[in-house]
Amino acid sequence: MVQINLPENSKVKQGKYFKDLTGSKNLRKVNVYRWDPSSGENPRIDTYEVDMDNCPSKVLDILNKIKNEIDPTLAYRRSCAHGVCGSCAMNIGGKNSLACTTPHAEIEGDINIYPLPHLKVKKDLIGDLDGLYKQYQSIEPWLKSNSKSETKEIIQSKEDRAKLDGAYECIMCACCSTSCPSYWWNGDKYLGPAVLLQAYRWIIDSRDEERTARLKKVADELKLYRCHTILNCTSACPKGLNPAKAIAEIKKMLATANI
């Protein structure tokens, strides 16, 4: 259901203000969403003054700097710092992206950092992605081949392999799914762009033999057709992929397939 307002326990309050202690002239204000599960209080926005003269170029560097030098209680996920693992997906300046690949110079004014939208918050910038992973599991993202031998290589032509370009690169960071208003309102049933892009990846794989069954599975009012081409997903994807187009392709396949 569409619920525009946040529930009472999720209303964001003004938090602490951390003044700069380094005496730097080149400061930026960074507003970070904080929620401590042990406090029983509502989430708050803490503001940090960060010395930009001694800070590398990406938003993740700012977060690391805050955690190392200003406030060690800040919690966020990060791992590879090179846009490959997808751990540091968050809402930066109103748009979902990976903190490790987003340059802070591109953001005007104060830098606002929130967790990925419309998720249950576990702590600070960490959202609960269990629902998304369950949906990912539900599309059975592995090769299904019944007739071919299990010991022999299944040959794929170069053309068929090329069809997977733009689909296999997904790192499941959830930037797209959590940017989608349809997924916000119907996240329990609508699969969302990330999972549908993966569904598409297995539907078009020439080696897979369960194509019809896979199509049938997503051919449900809520699982697929809640995509209204808002394109928040495509504009959010840090890998430059196009989930909206993949969903449109599945819709086309369903319209032309005889299922």
């Binding site: 525009i4 946040l6 529930p7 326990n9 999720s10 964001v12 969403y33 929620w35 599960p37 042990s38 406090s39 029983g40 509502n42 989430p43 809402n91 300046g93 109103g94 748009k95 606002n112 929130y114 967790p115 990925l116 939208p117 419309h118 998720l119 249950k120 918050v121 576990k122 959202g127 609960d128 940017s179 208003p181 916000w184 209204h228 081409t229 808002i230 394109l231 928040n232 495509t234 504009s235 196009n242 909206a244 187009k245 449109a248 392709e249 819709k251 086309k252």
Partner: protein, 127 residues
Amino acid sequence: MENKPPLSPHIQIYKWHISSLVSISHRITGIINIIAISFVCLLASLLVFGESNYEFINLFLVSLIGKFFILGLTWSFSFQILSEIRHIIMDLGYGFELRTAKITGLIVIFGSIILTIAFYLIGKNFF
């Protein structure tokens, strides 16, 4: 004690862009069209009940509210039609690149305004 986890902010903080604006406007103009066109049909069917109703309808249409109503409906209808064409093209699988989607979105927004002005001028016998 574990507390109930809050829901992270969503529509309150998410940045708008052309495609999301066109998408939500498509819905809003759709609802406006249903209500407004039903109202026009109601007015038209009043004519069945006699001449005197014509006066009433005319009075409404030349009033300030009536003019606003006509122009508003012209705009929301133009917007809906153009946006629907954009949707059909997307249903065929085209126009999903961010640049293209932005351009077609801008065409819908400015096209609807241009169409409204054009209809207004046609109504004024400008051409």
